[in-house]
């Protein structure tokens, strides 16, 4: 193991999540990126193991190669470095909808055991909600059309719920086979990456099941943080801690945002 491959000893749970998300992206693949952690993870991947990763932002930039973290999904650095900049209609109709994009990254306020996501309203009813969230954006069609979906969210009973207040984006609906019945072309959520570990769909039921723990986390911690009775695989794996190299590149990336402020 070289120096750059040796694992770091001190890192935050967010850094572990970002590194885990970055590792899920394959070199040469394409990734539909939202701002925040997904963008950080995708840019980290492009600077480490996946230099040929194609970054697609919903602002219409295909193949962006930003030299710093973009401040928004429509940052000028994305247009300046993209292979092509296309209209909003084209990015959704020609590039996302036909299932050309390998991985879509989503977050949300609530997720349920089948990877359905709520980013619309919390509490009350739709017309008179307790909390009004931003809404759908590109998420419903990203969830429907990308070959696979990665969800990144901090684990907590408020976020990982038994019952969504609103279904904004569909994961596996009410279980295995629902995507096919709905005619959704993409494969659905392959991973939920949390600070405590990684959930993956059970091959038989599509229910999200804990398969991998973050270094230092336990299955019991995860059970407490997840709002439904969490299934855990026998002998869950443990994620490799961020390498020194991953952490260095990640922190350099994050510093570019601070500089731009």
């Amino acid at each position: 193991m070289t120096a750059s491959e040796s694992t770091a000893s001190e890192f935050t749970a967010d850094e572990m999540m970002t590194v885990a998300a970055a590792r899920s992206l394959q070199d040469g693949g394409s990734c539909f990126v939202g701002i925040g952690l997904p963008s950080t993870a995708a840019n980290l991947a492009r600077r480490t193991h996946a230099p040929e990763l194609v970054l697609v932002y919903e602002s219409g930039t295909l193949g962006a190669k930003p030299d710093r973290l973009p401040l928004s999904i429509g940052d000028g650095v994305l247009a300046d470095t993209a292979d092509s900049v296309v209209s909003s209609a084209e990015i959704f109709n020609y590039w996302l909808q036909p299932g050309r994009i390998d991985v879509g990254f989503l977050g949300g306020a609530q997720v349920d055991r089948f990877g359905n996501i709520n980013t619309t309203v919390i509490g009350g009813d739709y017309r008179n909600p307790k909390v009004r969230l931003p809404g759908a954006g590109g998420a419903p069609e990203i969830a429907a059309s990308c070959k696979e979906v990665l969800i990144v969210m901090r684990a907590s009973p408020r976020n990982f719920v038994e019952q969504l207040d609103f279904v904004t984006s569909v994961g596996y609906g009410s279980g295995k086979g629902d995507r096919e019945k709905l005619g959704l072309p993409g494969g659905g959520p392959m991973k939920i990456i949390t600070d405590l570990g990684i959930l993956e769909p059970d091959p038989d039921t599509s229910e999200l099941t804990l398969t991998t723990l973050s270094p230092g986390s336990t299955a019991d911690q995860a059970r407490e943080a997840i709002g439904w009775p969490l299934q855990v695989v026998d002998a869950p794996g443990v994620q490799q801690a961020p390498t020194e190299q991953e952490l260095r590149v990640l922190r350099e990336l994050k510093a570019t945002v601070a500089e731009a402020d």
Binding site: A79, P129, V167
Partner: protein, 272 residues
Amino acid sequence: MARILRLREAVEELVRDGDTVALEGFTHLIPVAAGHEIIRQRRRDLTLVRMTPDIIYDQMIGAGCARKLVFSWGGNPGVGSLHRFRDAIQHSWPVPLEIEEHSHAGMANRYVAGASGLPFAVLRGYKGTDLPAQTSTIKMIECPFTGEELAAVPAVNPDVGIIHAQQADRQGNVQMWGITGVQKETVLASSRSLVTVEEVVDELTPRPGAVVLPKWAVSAVAEVPGGSHPSYAQGYYDRDNAYYQQWDPIGRDRETFEEWLQTEVYGAERSA
């Protein structure tokens, strides 16, 4: 045929109470100055349309210009919530706000249908979500060839479409570049249109990635340097990220917001 007007004249002439108005711009080239002018002219009962209502729509909603919002993502990008938008929806302040909610793909296609002179557009979207139950402008339609069921959304055809661009020439031909979102469709879908520009130039120099709107497709052009601040105008100025962050505490409190409105909008008529 585009006429070159002052911003105040253009808004006076083109935007009327009760109109459906789209101020578009996807993160880039947001027509903020035009939105402030609409607030200043105290337009009321507007139906505001935009894929990504952000600070400028928060301000217009807080100022009481809007009775309805048609949108797909409402937030302060990179910062958090829009508090005036939430206050209007959750507490009807200062006036009730009706909403019509879509996804980005749905909204983009509604503009495309509007620009195309078609009554509706078809997309793979919304299936399995709770949106169709809440939004009457989402229906299902069957492919007449395969029998497959797809989503249909009606065209959006604003009374007025407003965008910001980098340049126009003296005849009113408009050129914008960088991320251009649904701006072309917004102008083409609208009965009347206003393009604010960073500068009016003698001649437009063709640029890679530029979108050109010929003068005969635009109603009015107004020269408003800095007209998309705090968003950015590629080639002219960068995003004022601090403004987005500073908006959060201002928008959070009704009184602070009203003070801001007095000082920064009503008391700050632009010379343009």
